[in-house]
């Protein structure tokens, strides 16, 4: 590189003296993003090769089952794609192309698996989901061979509502207080507390059930009940709530707190009047996701709630069913009729979770400090009231300062605004 040379004005010309001969510029505009025609051609060819190759391997080695075919076909596809790209590109570009396809296919694999899980569950549960009695009746009168038009999972829906309701009432205040503690103090104990909460959020949920079983049922001598299950769910949900609330509070911009402190607010008022209202949508998301987490847990409920096919509207007495527990118990019974009902319970649960999840996304999509239309109007009205209040104070102050017009003296400063 000859840096001392006078830089050419305008684009570098090819006949520049001293420089190496540059390759001619490509004709037309070069696309640097998106799918290109050659890539699509290569992919199509590789897919063909993979598909035909997997059939061949299946015939030769006796591989059975669709999974095996797909795996072999995919490997063949990958190799073929690499070879096809290497016909026109150099080694780093081939590597890049193959790795890009690998990354994309893991995404397809994971999302595809999720789709299969959801659609398979819904498809198997559909037969029972379309009957109204599934939601209104319990299983006390329906045996394994009863038609789907009789009996349902109403007892489990009621049980789930009780359990999750009690758990939310218990965990939301405690979780919020603990998250505020983490937010207000940056001390060593707070950091230790955060580590403990993170570790506890991965506590196996069955241990939450086992703990309540040991404490509430074995030691204190209570019966299996909805309350016991709610306590177990609370132990399990608490770390989730604290972690998610802590994250939501930490997203509040620091300069908002500083502004509040600069106006003379003590830290607790800053927390209550600035930080928590700003993080409201994040906190709501935390609660919803915690509920979605707790609603689907079967293992803490399994040890603490007992199981009953009857409706039990009292969480304090007697065994109580919940949706995940009913799904588990019914499928464990092994009879085809009950398996179908198990899938209905699982589908209903899945739909609940998806609804909660979509709500959480919608609420959480608003950044910290986001205002709804109504909230925005409220803030504007408050602001207008403040302006009016200031104007009134100003007027009052001026009225107090200004002497009555009768005592007008020549020393008064001239009124510049109204000459």
């Amino acid at each position: 590189m000859t840096l001392l040379e006078d830089p050419p004005i305008g684009p570098a010309s090819e006949d520049r003296p001293g420089g190496p001969a540059l390759p001619p510029p490509p004709a037309g505009r070069r696309r640097i993003g998106g799918l290109q025609a050659a890539t699509v051609r290569n992919l199509a060819g590789a897919v063909l090769a993979g598909a035909s190759g997997s059939v061949l391997v299946a015939l030769l080695t006796g591989l059975s089952g669709p999974f095996g075919l797909v795996i072999v076909g995919y490997l063949l596809f990958l190799v073929t794609y690499g070879v096809l790209v290497s016909l026109t590109e150099d080694r780093p570009a081939v590597k890049d192309a193959v790795m890009t396809v690998l990354m994309a296919s893991t995404a397809v694999l994971a999302i595809g698996a999720l789709a299969v899980v959801i659609f398979f569950t819904l498809a198997r549960g559909w037969g029972a989901l379309i009957h109204l009695n599934t939601y209104t009746q319990d299983l006390s009168a329906a045996g394994p061979t009863a038609p789907l038009t009789r009996g349902g999972i109403g007892h489990a829906i009621i049980g789930t509502l009780w359990m999750i309701g009690i758990a939310v009432v218990l965990t939301v205040p405690i979780g919020l207080v603990a998250a505020v503690y983490l937010d207000m103090t940056r001390s060593r104990p707070a950091r230790g507390f955060r580590t403990v909460v993170e570790a506890m959020s991965a506590l196996p949920s069955i241990l939450a059930g086992l703990f309540i079983y040991a404490l509430w049922i074995l030691t204190l001598g209570n019966q299996h009940s909805g309350l016991a299950a709610a306590l177990a769910l609370s132990v399990m949900m608490l770390p989730y709530m604290i972690r998610a609330s802590d994250l939501a509070l930490r997203l509040v911009p620091g300069n908002l707190r500083e502004a509040s402190a600069a106006l003379g607010a003590p830290s607790w008022r800053t927390e209550l009047r600035v930080v928590i209202p700003t993080a409201r949508s994040g906190l709501a998301t935390a609660v919803i996701l915690g509920v979605a987490r707790g609603i689907g847990e079967a293992s803490p409920v399994l040890l603490t709630a007992g199981y009953t096919p009857y409706v039990n509207g009292n969480p304090l007495h007697g065994p109580m069913a919940s949706l995940p527990l009913v799904a588990l118990k019914l499928v464990q019974s092994g009879s085809p009729g009950f398996t179908e009902r198990a899938f209905a319970a699982a589908s209903f649960l899945l739909l609940l979770v998806i609804i909660l999840f979509v709500t959480a996304r919608k609420v959480g999509g608003w950044g910290p400090g986001h205002l709804s239309q109504r909230g925005l109007r409220r803030v504007r009205e408050a602001s207008a009231r403040d302006v009016a209040r200031f104007a009134r104070r100003q007027e009052a102050a001026e009225a107090a300062l200004t002497p009555p017009p009768a005592a007008l003296s020549p020393l008064d400063p001239p009124n510049l605004e109204h000459p």
């Binding site: 669709p66 994971a110 506590l203 069955i206 241990l207 040991a214 399994l302 799904a327 398996t339």
Partner: protein, 346 residues
């Protein structure tokens, strides 16, 4: 201040009265209003209550486990059997089977989550990135009983073919061996390959992938922009940039996320009790029917145990508690060390 000197010159040092050096340094006192103190006390109390609950979990398991541990003593850790009624029980076999399930799940989940999180942070156009993140989060929110039913009714029948194929062609690997497998018998029943650690591992890997993915995604997105642009400026391809910038910067996230996933996989209950046929000895043949996990053991046996049997289950629960706590503490330490700039300034 009482020593105000009106003729204080620019260069003059004010005459200090004798003994001024011994004057105590002014203490900066953070005088909190009573309301402030009360609020701090309230939050601290809440945090302490949470800690107390967490501590109680461990304490109660330990207290309840004590009778069983007194009976079995050290053999609890070495015995491969579960017969509390004749005082012959231990978690050696179950613990190894638990770890096997978790390892199978993580071995499947790590490459998928790695590719998935790289795809989300580096490859996917911004328009589908948010959707992908939402879908992966939804994957974490799907109840485990749904995964369990799916694994039982959908996955199991389809994986048996793969298991048979692996056992036939890859049995030079000791853990792919299956006792009693007869490759020359094409109509051999599939039950030999069902209810296995491998099938549970696949289902659990689906639950672990979103955990791994979110930790990895966070660490990848923190790889500095300057180094990324530097790699491109040197003529690197996208994969070259990922290999030399994103992956080295995200190493802590990859390791920590993997350990978090391992901790989650160790405790999975529902899939285990739905799929696996429980054994109490070490079954290292992952394709072969039979396996167990501590959580599955607890869920299966809690209802039909006498006092000592329940105590033995508590001891098993305590072992699981200790194992997951160690794994999770280590994981969050690794993740925390790799994390930087977690706070935002608006």
């Amino acid at each position: 201040m009482s020593t105000v000197t009106p003729d204080l010159g620019v260069t003059a040092v004010p005459p200090t009265p004798a003994g001024a050096d011994e004057r105590p340094r002014r203490q900066l006192v953070d005088a909190k209003a009573p309301a402030e103190r009360a609020f701090l006390g309230l939050t601290r109390g809440g945090a302490l209550a949470v800690l107390a609950v967490f501590a109680l979990v461990g304490v109660f398991l330990a207290v309840k486990a004590e009778p069983a541990l007194r009976v079995s003593k050290f053999s609890f850790l070495t015995t491969q059997a579960w017969q509390p009624d004749i005082h012959h029980f231990g978690i050696a076999g179950i613990m190894v089977d638990t770890i096997l399930i978790a390892v199978v799940a993580v071995v499947i989940a790590v490459p998928v989550a790695l590719g998935l999180s790289l795809f989300i942070t580096e490859v996917a156009p911004a328009s589908i990135r948010r959707t992908l993140v939402s879908l992966v989060d939804l994957m974490a929110a799907v109840p485990s009983v749904v995964y369990g039913l799916w694994a039982l009714e959908f996955l199991q029948g389809r994986v048996v073919g793969v298991s048979r194929w692996l056992a036939t062609w890859a049995n030079w690997l000791p853990f792919f061996r299956v006792n009693g497998a007869d490759p020359s018998n094409p109509v051999q029943s599939g039950t030999l390959y069902s209810a296995s650690t491998f099938i549970v591992g696949i289902a659990v890997s689906l639950m672990v992938i979103p955990i791994l993915c979110s930790v990895m995604r966070e660490s990848f997105s923190q790889a500095p922009l300057g180094e990324r642009e530097g790699a491109y400026a040197l003529g690197g391809t996208r994969w070259g940039m990922i290999r030399t910038v994103v992956l080295p910067f995200g190493k802590g996230g990859i390791i920590g996320g993997t350990m978090l996933g391992l901790g989650r996989a160790l405790g999975e209950t529902i899939v285990v009790i739905l799929i696996i046929s429980p054994v109490y000895t070490i079954n290292s043949h992952i394709l072969q029917s039979g396996g167990n996990s501590i959580s599955g053991l607890i869920a299966n046996l809690y209802n039909e145990s006498d006092a000592l049997g329940t105590s033995a289950l508590m001891a098993a629960g305590l072992a699981l508690f200790a194992l997951t706590l160690v794994v999770n503490f280590a994981a969050s330490a690794v993740v925390a060390r790799s994390r930087s700039g977690a706070e935002s300034e608006g």
